[in-house]
Symmetry: C2
Amino acid sequence: MKLKVKTNIDDYSIIIGKNLCSKIKKIISNEKINSQKFLLVYDSKVPKRMIRSIVSRFNKKRIDEKKIVFNEKSKNLKTVSSIVKILEKKNYSRNDCLISVGGGICGDVCGFASSIFKRGLNFINVPTTLLSQVDSSIGGKTGINSLSGKNMIGSFYQPSLVVSDIDFLKSLPKKEMICGYAEILKHSLIKNKAFFKFLEKNFSKILNHNKNFLENAIYKSCLIKKEVVEKDEKEKNIRKMLNLGHTFAHAYETTVGYNKGLNHGEAVLLGIMSAVKFGRQKNILNKDDYERIIKHLKKLNYINLNKYFKSKDISKIIFYMKQDKKNKGNKINLILLKSLAKPILNKSFEENEIRLFLKKLINK
Amino acid sequence: MKLKVKTNIDDYSIIIGKNLCSKIKKIISNEKINSQKFLLVYDSKVPKRMIRSIVSRFNKKRIDEKKIVFNEKSKNLKTVSSIVKILEKKNYSRNDCLISVGGGICGDVCGFASSIFKRGLNFINVPTTLLSQVDSSIGGKTGINSLSGKNMIGSFYQPSLVVSDIDFLKSLPKKEMICGYAEILKHSLIKNKAFFKFLEKNFSKILNHNKNFLENAIYKSCLIKKEVVEKDEKEKNIRKMLNLGHTFAHAYETTVGYNKGLNHGEAVLLGIMSAVKFGRQKNILNKDDYERIIKHLKKLNYINLNKYFKSKDISKIIFYMKQDKKNKGNKINLILLKSLAKPILNKSFEENEIRLFLKKLINK
């Protein structure tokens, strides 16, 4: 399956399917990417045989490799510099290409490195997790962490190509599948009622690697995200809807310290739950849709903040919410739902309203 | 005088004139930049009274200041990080604003910092040298140096506003005026024969700070650059013409080590001379125009490479030319002139052709 994403400068393709890695050289030339040299940066967690199946298709002189241990701690300027140094040393030109093979962090770091080397060389993203296939690989947001927060440093930079091979997902643990599912669910909630219905019915098939349902869900999710980012590449306005649940989610994951107890997608599920409940409390979201969404989140078992936080964490959560990139002035911006597929942007709230709300959810 | 530059995302204005600093707050609000907070980053060389005349117009709570010693050595990731740290610490939002007051290096570093903080906050450039007013402040190229070359790391990022106050130029030494003049001359050569004629006649008035001629030359130079970058924001094609003389120039200045013996504009004059002579040798540039341009360069006294280089430097020059961002594969790309106002892009040459050519120019 193929999607074409329009950007301000150029178009690029997203290819979704099985057994794509072994065909990658062909795909690249079909897409008219005429690079002479390729630097393949890959996450140490990616199975070696998948890397081999890519590298073996290239002339040895034309491809360099760099393995990196990617995690929230290494998602920093130091890792970016280590990639840029290779590009410099081997005299890569703008017309050459960096290929990222890994999850969202790998793609974010490689995308950022690509954007700043000689003001931008070709970038091919091969996302290997469900989360990165349905979300971060589309839309050109790149980013690294700074001392004070997630993705505080970054750029908007469009890839030349995205190759989403679902064979990577075979080895993905349940927790990681749920992580990607969170963003699939979010896409349905902001844009497509029928897709939400499909998910209500088929979510367990998707989570259990039923290939057809999985491929379908990835495609639909990419399609929604593509349509949003095409209308607003630099997140001036409607793209903000993709942040449903994310103001809470970023604060949740930063508060627990990006540890394994709560991954990004899990934080997003809790964030969606929070945004949905807050929207209902403010009488913005209608009762029926509220109950349908909460029912689905209950089935996924991401409904209870008390599992992760204590009352004393609330100030910390608020502190991080105030650093959200969407905020203007001193208020906290939240993306809320009016109903299924009808998001509301640009609603801002006083920190005290949110503090009181969180006190009800976190009562330990 | 005011120019409006169209970009892929937004438009921005370039304001050129006298006594603009004291009116800057008014200019900012006229341009509908609604930031709450401003970080003013300025070069230590800018006269204190000019900084005061800007800062004093703002509410003290709304403006932060950071003085930096800018030079090619401090044009690096460390300086960028020091700026980003302040933005983070004081919780600047994307909607807030960084104001750069300084020459090209200050603008390049501040522009890059602006582009990567939260994927981009508002950026106002107040260029204080002739070079930055006529060239680097327009077009959205930002950049810092790496170990191996000038501007190897950077981004394309458009400012929200450029304010070119010619009062800054009063204190500029002759050498710095010539530096800016090099780019003015380049703009005339690639795009406007009548403007070149104007420069042939009036160059000494411009270099000697005749305000009307100076303002006129800045405006015309900005207009040419604006027209080029509007057609090709990301330097995919015709924007490359702005690099006339620059493949040589970058290699020259890197070879002498960015020292004060040869500043950027001086290197550009020598680079233009080299490109013009090389183009003539290859029978690309016609004889009449060749002689007119060389005659003008002789008046400026930038014609003799032997003043700066010895034969043993040639390999180093070639090495740096091969790292130019425009190169594809192993050849060296040069922008050449066919005639006045008729540049040729995408001509590439073997390093040996250029080596032989340089051997004729550098014969000590």
